[in-house]
């Protein structure tokens, strides 16, 4: 069963890849069917998972200490649910979104392959298998970002994403080295059994390596720069890979390696700090974006910062809960945005939208629910999970991170509401010339010769795209209520000790006890809500109040042109990477290729060859062609031998 769960999407990917042209429209249905079947199998296996230590299946053994197998335990089951459940819905949505694209079948082959890779990642029972999945999801992400590979920007974004992900891979490899050298095994069980007895430095080094991997995959500072560019991919890809599942692999890894983080305070501090800074940076950068997908991308980065902060400081349940709720509401947001983009013929700039609430009511409601969830509107899913993360930092003794988390919550409310107001309120600005709106030419050039999602083709029925979104809106609202249900009763507030969610987090039963926080939880919640309210109100005043709506075009233009340059340049991270790594590597390579190889190394050899040539030219004078001359030389040689033996010979 677990093999079927794991390999069905792969079989689907192979079938679609091999028979894509023959399958035509069925490719999408086949892809969705395999993923949803996997989801059903996961449901069937759930009972088995919660009893005992999970479902296990051995696979192969490479060498001593390199034995691999599958493991489905509560933690991986939670991820499997999200991957196959949300993934299946996004597959269905994609049938509508991608209809008419020339490479329709290829898209589903890649998507199915991604699901397989992600399942490999979470089902592995060892670090090497995890690394295999880690690399394969990076590959799938690369394929899908560069899906429209005739766009140079997509190709560049794909390459960037892949290379940065490989940086993460080598971090993970380094972690494996350290752990293998210390424990001579790579399985989770083997490593964690010895986690307590390892030297502190070893654990910290291993955690550092693993966290480099997390930072690359989950877009944490300073390896986050690929995520905004990754929005070059089709929108369903952004929803599935760059919001709901793949980018949360880092959260999974840290949660999985909780026994290591538990014994390394340095690692906790490092990861918590990076997570908090990422959350803040993502939120700040989100405030100056105009591309709707980039806004969502920065918000993803920011939210993952929250999750990483949560699991990093030790509030594992809170971080995982945030992953869980985020998967739903961020998928809702992306898919809603996708409906807009689809309807507006690939317009992604919010300045050219406006007043869409009446034109696209379904998308409006979907985005509204998603926005309210993400900013933590009381009662919606994000409210519970974000609050849990922020308060968790305080509980585990990081007041500074707590403060950053609070501020970020306010900024999140500001930029998400800004997006919502600019997009749906006021009047439609699609007909206003770009220059008047301050839209720089060719920030995202439309593809000249082929419409990516092919609106000329037969339109798929609207319900294909709406039903999955509607199905995702429900958990966006209610997913947070798993936090209820403690031993005091099914509706009592349980928090980290809740019974329902506790099923998924049994791994952390032995976690270090939280310190008593200075601020009671209700007060903290009120403070957060106050900041959220301020943020939303500022956004309302600037973008949705009647004064703002009246001269929206001028205001947007002014804001576009006067934005602080470091922010529009994304705080110069890209430039720094280019300056510090890319340019020197190319320069050194060029120097080696043009100077060292031909001149120094080969030069030495060529000097020898030249010497031989010179000797040859000089000796040519002796080459008279006269046979007697040659004979004379032979005799000269004989004479030499004879003289030598006559004087030095030791013949006995």
């Amino acid at each position: 069963m677990i093999f079927a769960l794991w390999l069905l999407p792969f079989a689907g990917a192979l079938a679609i890849w091999a028979f894509g042209p023959q399958l035509k429209r069925l490719a999408g249905a086949l892809g969705a069917a395999t993923v949803l079947t996997s989801f059903a199998i996961a449901l069937a296996l759930a009972g088995q998972t919660f009893t005992g230590r999970g479902v296990k299946a051995p696979l192969v053994s490479w060498a001593q200490g390199f034995s691999f197998g599958l493991l489905l335990d509560p933690l991986s089951l939670l991820w499997v649910f999200v991957i196959t459940g949300v993934g299946g819905l996004i597959h269905v949505y994609s049938i509508g979104y991608m209809s008419g694209d020339r490479a329709f079948a290829r898209f589903f082959a890649y998507m199915n392959f991604f699901v397989f890779a992600m399942l490999t990642l979470v089902l592995s029972d060892n670090f090497v298998g995890l690394l295999v999945g880690w690399g394969l999801v990076g590959l799938a992400s690369y394929f899908l970002i560069g899906f429209w590979f005739f766009k140079p920007s997509a190709v560049a974004a794909a390459r960037k994403a892949f290379v940065i992900n490989v940086v993460g891979d080598i971090g993970l490899m380094f972690g494996i080295f350290v752990l293998f050298a210390a424990t001579h095994t790579t399985t989770y069980a083997g490593v964690f059994a010895k986690a307590g007895s390892l030297a502190p430095l070893t654990v910290t080094l291993a955690c550092f390596g693993l966290f480099v991997a997390c930072a690359a995959k989950s877009a944490q500072l300073p390896l986050h720069t690929w995520l905004p560019d990754a929005m070059e991919g089709p929108t369903p890809v952004s929803a599935l890979i760059h919001a709901a599942t793949m980018v949360t692999a880092g959260v999974y890894l840290i949660a999985r390696c909780a026994p290591l983080w538990d014994v390394s305070p340095e690692a906790r501090a490092l990861v918590g700090t990076i997570g908090a800074l990422t959350a803040l940076t993502g939120a700040v950068l989100g405030c100056v974006q105009w591309d709707i997908k980039r806004i969502l991308a920065y918000s993803t980065m920011s939210q993952i910062g929250y999750m990483i902060m949560g699991v990093g400081v030790g509030a594992y349940q809170a971080g995982i809960l945030h992953f869980y709720t985020h998967a739903f509401f961020k998928a809702t947001l992306f898919l809603g945005a996708g409906i807009l983009i689809h309807a507006l013929h690939d317009e992604q700039d919010v300045r050219k939208m406006g007043g869409l609430a009446r034109r696209q009511p379904f998308a409006f409601w979907a985005m509204t629910v998603g926005t309210l969830a993400i900013i933590g509107f009381p009662g919606l899913s994000g409210f519970f999970s974000k609050d849990a993360v922020i308060y968790g930092t305080l509980e585990h003794g990081y007041p500074l991170l707590y403060a950053i988390g609070m501020v970020t919550a306010g900024i999140t409310a500001y930029y998400m509401c800004r997006m919502l107001f600019v997009t749906f309120f006021g009047s439609y600005r699609g007909d206003v010339p770009s220059a008047q709106l301050g839209v720089a030419a060719s920030t995202n050039p439309p593809v000249a010769h082929e419409a990516p999602s092919g609106h000329e083709g037969a339109h798929a029925p609207a319900w294909l795209m709406q039903v999955p979104v509607a199905l995702l809106m429900i958990p966006s609202v209610i997913a947070g209520y798993v936090w209820f249900g403690s031993r005091d009763g099914p509706l009592a507030y349980g928090g980290p000790g809740s019974l329902w969610f506790g099923y998924f987090t049994t791994n952390f039963a032995t976690r270090a006890e939280a310190v008593q926080a200075a601020v009671p939880e209700w007060l903290s919640t009120v403070l957060v809500l106050a900041l959220v309210g301020i943020g939303a109100f500022v956004a309302y005043r600037r973008y949705a109040a009647s004064a703002a709506s009246a001269n929206a075009v001028e205001r947007l233009r002014a804001e576009s042109l006067t934005a602080w340059r470091p922010l529009t340049r994304a705080l110069y991270f890209d430039d720094a990477i280019e300056l510090v790594f890319v340019r020197p590597a190319s320069a050194i390579g060029a120097a080696f290729a043009r100077v060292v190889d031909p001149q120094v190394l080969d030069g030495a050899v060529r000097d020898v060859a030249w010497l031989a040539g010179w000797l040859g030219r000089e000796m040519r004078a002796l080459q008279t062609g006269l046979v007697r001359g040659y004979a004379l030389v032979v005799v000269l040689g004989v004479a030499g031998f004879l003289v030598y033996f006559a004087w030095f010979g030791t013949v006995r």
Partner: protein, 476 residues
């Protein structure tokens, strides 16, 4: 029976010349058939007992001793026959009858190198395998290129060093019938005075052949000038002769010297690893990229061999096979777009993937294996080598060796994307996609890449015993 793996291809190469010059198709299929027959014969002969005929008695004992076992020799011969068959299948070089004859001779000579269990025999085949490559470079390489002579100059220098080392070893030891004999046999006889010189001779020959930095400058020129089927075999298998020599000869026979020189070899391997990767970043010729990436990858194998760690040694064995598979695949795929578009320049080509999805798919998989994508064969070797390296206490080499992995991703993606992706270039002829035959030529390599990536255990496993000999012979 094992000897037939050597004799039959060489005989066939000679007999091919009896065919009429125009029978190019026939010659090609004979070549393909013999290669694949040899492949299956190798599988059938796995673990067969050695065969030995007395040869020289003076000045030292040397026997015509060949053996297959089921260790590294076995895997490399499988790789050799498979890559030769695949390379010949889709070839359409001019004067094909003569070309196939050269390739079959190469096949036989290289089989001899890997099957020889006697040092003199090994050295004999070592020099024999240079000859067809030299003639292919002369006959099929570009006009006015001196790469043939450069190839010969470098490799014959190495061959002479090898011969001297073998002779010295034979005189001191009394016998050269040693490859795969009991471990540590030679250590007691060859003292440190001569031992270092003998080690230097072997290491020099093997380092040139592999090549190890800084002896590599013949390699890019040779790889660029050789026609694709030949370069596929040369880079896949012939470059492994040096590494095989390190594993099968130097490690068991000269263990003390290996210990003494491990530091130097580490430095050379690391420099090759970084140097090759950095240079590959800026090349424009697709073949040059692969050539310099080979330099980088082979440096990694050298690290694995000299780490003195069983895991890393197993990883080195895996990577030897893996590199053979993906470099053969890369060169064949590059040839396929070169014959279509008439260029290998990254600046000039672009967007081929739109009309050649099969070719793009094939190139993707081999390029991914080359950049060490987890799940494919390159990764399996890489992680075993590096983990073993780190576990054996060589922390810094392992850490430095991580950097070229990122660079590998950068240059391999650059190769793939600049050729296959982006907008189509208007003035490049867009030819149709792969034919079935061309696809069949790549398919076995791709299948092997995936299989080895999923389970390299059989190749790596024989290193469980702490001895290189068992790796060669496969005895456990």
């Amino acid at each position: 029976m094992i000897a037939t793996l050597i004799v039959v291809p060489i005989l066939a190469a000679v007999l091919l010349l009896l065919l009429p010059r125009r029978a190019e198709g026939t010659a090609k299929w004979i070549g393909v058939a013999i290669s694949f027959l040899a492949f299956f014969a190798t599988i059938g002969l796995a673990g067969a007992p050695d065969e030995s005929v007395r040869w020289l008695q003076r000045p030292f004992t040397a026997n015509f001793h060949v053996g297959l076992g089921h260790g590294l020799s076995y895997w490399i011969v499988l790789l050799l026959t498979l890559s030769t068959g695949c390379a010949l299948m889709a070839t359409n070089v001019p004067r094909r009858r003569d070309f196939v004859a050269q390739m079959l001779f190469l096949l036989g000579a290289m089989a001899g190198v890997f099957l020889a269990r006697d040092l003199v025999l090994f050295a004999l085949f070592w020099d024999l395998m240079l000859i067809p490559v030299f003639f292919i470079l002369l006959g099929w390489g570009p006009e006015r290129s001196n790469s043939a002579w450069r190839y010969l100059l470098y490799n014959v220098t190495g061959g002479v060093a090898l011969l001297l080392a073998v002779a010295a070893y034979g005189v001191l030891e009394g016998s050269t019938d040693l490859i795969g004999a009991s471990l540590g046999h030679g250590a007691s006889v060859v003292g440190n005075g001569w031992g270092l010189w003998i080690f230097a001779g072997f290491a020099f020959a093997f380092a040139i052949k592999t090549p190890v930095w800084p002896f590599h400058t013949w390699m890019p020129a040779t790889y660029v000038d050789l026609p694709a089927p030949a370069v596929a075999v040369v880079s896949a298998v012939q470059s492994k002769a040096g590494l095989y020599g390190f594993i099968a000869i130097v490690l068991p026979l000269l263990p003390e010297q290996v210990q003494a020189a491990a530091g130097i070899m580490f430095v050379l391997g690391l420099v090759a690893l970084v140097y090759g990767a950095v240079v590959a970043l800026v090349q424009d010729d697709a073949k040059s990229i692969v050539a310099y990436s080979s330099l980088s990858h082979l440096g990694l194998i050298v690290l694995g061999i000299f780490s003195g760690n069983a895991l890393a040694l197993g990883g080195a064995a895996v990577y030897v096979i893996a590199h053979g598979l993906f470099s053969a695949g890369l060169f064949l795929a590059i040839d396929q777009f070169e014959t279509r578009e008439g260029s290998r320049s990254l600046k000039r080509l672009g967007g081929l993937g739109a009309r050649n999805p099969k070719l793009a798919g094939g190139l993707t998989i081999v390029a991914l294996a080359a950049l060490g994508l987890p799940g494919l064969c390159g990764f399996a070797g890489e992680i075993l080598i590096l983990t073993g390296l780190y576990a054996s206490g060589n922390v810094w080499p392992a850490v430095i060796a991580l950097v070229p992995i990122v660079l590998a991703a950068a240059y391999m993606l650059r190769l793939f994307q600049d050729v296959m992706q982006g907008p189509e270039v208007a003035d490049v002829p867009q030819r149709p996609d792969l034919t079935l035959l061309e696809l069949l030529a790549l398919a076995p390599l791709v299948v092997a890449i995936v299989l080895l990536g999923v389970n390299p255990g059989p190749v790596a496993g024989s290193a469980n015993v702490q001895s290189a000999v068992s790796l060669v012979q496969g005895t456990r």
